[in-house]
């Protein structure tokens, strides 16, 4: 956080302070706008209001303890955060995860992607003055949160994905519940599109707003729907498949307009693609099979084994008192979060605590494009531009 008044502001222009409590900044983002009448001359984002030092805290915890911290970064995508951290630790350990656990992971993060896009759509429509869409979106999101609650016991901070597999066996009757949701969802997405896609106010507010050419977006390290709306079909699920994504059939929706409207269409299309992936994942998930890798000393043993086997009891004690020590080295793992490339860099020095954990958060990096997006636009379009970048401030500030 810095005072930015010194950087901008000349006699002709006026500096307007937008945020940190402005409703369209979705949290605590402050943007200093330099205005010439209604036109934005310059914009300087000011962050850090939610900085909690998660990366520093991770260094003081064992590898398994840090999972709960990752939930709290991007609170619209907690499962995705769990996933990237666990995949990075598993890569560091060289662990192979059972297929059944991988498919359940895929299903859960795709449900999470839908729920995140629903929150985005609802709140963005609210910013643009279409209040009813928010109520529809949150109605469907509730169904997803109910699924999470049954799987993990938690609606939001699930910590369901663990190092080596999953926390719990899927609950009884999960198939019917998920199936009911994915059968219902396509018609609900049609409903949102009916309300918005051909709505003249919606089009007038979004079309041509927040345009940036693809070269600029790549240079600014933008990823995710923002980049795909500019016609670049980059998606980590296809480019660097993880969790057996190579076995799934789905498309990467792209547009070429690179404006806010294109980003809206991409996200709606991604909801439909995610539904396809969930349907395939459900077919692949068997009723029986392991949900954790076989790795004594890293993954806590089963309860029953602890009562009959001495080694299991010793491993259990050691895992929870001192943790496990991955070999020395560094890894970088990237996944496709609803907002773009979510990366996790871990450096191990061979001790039970990581030497360094760094999260490459898509919100933080994508927000960099905001000043170039809003320069020359009207103030009201700034709201649309911030909205379509889709930032989660918990992840920006970490």
């Amino acid at each position: 956080m810095t005072t930015v008044e010194t950087a901008i502001g000349t006699a002709k222009t006026m500096v307007l302070n937008m945020g940190p409590q402005h409703p369209s900044t979705h949290g605590v983002l402050r943007v200093l706008l330099e205005l010439d009448g209604e036109n934005v001359v310059n914009a300087v984002p000011d962050l850090g209001y939610l900085h909690t030092g998660i990366e520093k805290s991770c260094e003081d915890k064992t590898y398994s303890q840090a999972i709960t911290l990752t939930d709290r970064m991007d609170y619209l995508n907690p499962l995705g955060n769990n996933l990237v951290y666990c995949l990075a630790v598993e890569k560091l350990l060289g662990l192979e995860i059972p297929k059944r656990a991988q498919y359940i992971r895929v299903m859960m993060v795709e449900l999470q992607r839908i729920s995140s896009h629903l929150v985005w759509l609802g709140t963005h429509a609210l910013d643009m003055g279409a209040m009813s869409v928010m109520l529809y979106c949150f109605r469907e999101r509730e169904e997803i949160l109910k699924i999470f609650e049954r799987f993990a016991g938690q609606r939001m901070m699930t910590s369901y994905i663990r190092i080596g597999g999953l926390a719990l066996e899927p609950p009884a009757g999960w198939r019917e519940q998920v199936k009911r949701f994915i059968d219902m969802m396509p018609s609900r997405v049609d409903e949102y599109e009916e309300l918005l896609t051909n709505n003249r106010i919606w089009m007038a507010r979004l079309k041509g707003v927040g345009y940036l050419p693809p070269e600029t977006l790549i240079a600014l390290s933008t990823t995710g729907p923002g980049l795909r709306a500019a016609g670049i079909p980059f998606d980590n699920r296809k480019a660097f498949p993880y969790c057996s994504y190579e076995e799934f059939e789905f498309n990467i929706p792209t547009r070429t307009e690179s404006d806010s409207f294109a980003r809206y269409l991409i996200r709606v299309q991604e909801i439909r693609e995610s539904l396809k992936i969930i349907r395939q994942a459900m077919d692949k998930i068997t009723d029986q099979g392991p949900i954790k890798a076989e790795a004594p000393g890293v993954i806590p043993p089963q309860r029953e084994k602890m009562k009959t086997e001495m080694e299991a009891l010793i491993y259990h004690f050691k895992i929870f008192t001192e943790g496990f020590s991955p070999p020395v080295g560094e890894v970088y793992q990237a996944v496709e979060s609803p907002r773009g490339e979510l990366g996790c860099f871990i450096a191990s020095d061979g001790s039970p605590k990581p030497l360094r954990v760094h999260f490459r958060s898509p919100s933080f990096v994508n927000l960099q494009a905001l000043p170039s997006m809003v320069k020359g636009q009207l103030i009201a379009d700034t709201v649309a531009s911030i909205g379509t970048i889709d930032i989660v401030l918990g992840e920006v500030d970490r």
Binding site: G48, E55, K91, G94, S221, F234, G343, Q368
Partner: protein, 159 residues
């Protein structure tokens, strides 16, 4: 860590060594990821070559971060994750910096996206970037003292 087993590594290494024989001081392969150790002085030139050589085409900087190896010296290790979208390849550039007045060349002239990533490192590690256009704190408040992600900074904060 073993030397060179990944099939894609030799191409990148050969290309860069052909361009400048001193460009790469070492190659580390760990868990299928390639790390190129670059001399401190050549960092920006190597980065520019990685981006502009059509055979390499690392068009995006995914991430930049620092690791503090305190009390070892040189203590700071800069890690840059490069991504080539057209060739679906990732590579890591690494350079080390000594603890006395840590300075390194900014990669902002090569990839403008490095701007905030380097501001974050400046903010949390206290490393200066030569040639950065806007080197200010980004996450911490202005009057904050110290660099909290350094290993010698206590987790619970200064007492």
């Amino acid at each position: 860590m073993s030397e060179l087993a990944n099939a894609n590594a030799p191409v990148v290494v050969d290309r860069l060594r052909a361009w400048n024989s001193e460009a790469i001081a070492g190659v580390i392969e760990h868990r299928g990821e390639i790390t190129l150790v670059v001399p401190h002085k050549l960092l920006r030139a190597v980065a520019r070559q990685c981006k502009e050589d059509p055979e390499l085409a690392f068009n995006q900087l995914s991430d930049a971060t620092c690791v503090d190896r305190f009390p070892a010296e040189p203590r700071f290790e800069m890690n840059y994750q490069l991504l080539s979208m057209s060739r679906s390849q990732r590579i890591r550039l690494r350079t080390t910096i000594g603890g006395q007045q840590p300075v390194v060349d900014s990669l902002e002239p090569v990839w403008p996206g490095a701007n905030w990533m380097e501001r974050e490192i400046f903010d949390l590690f206290g490393i200066r970037f030569e040639g950065h256009t806007d080197l200010r704190r980004i996450l911490l408040p202005e009057g904050f003292e110290g660099a909290p992600l350094r290993r010698d900074y206590p987790v619970e904060g200064p007492r």
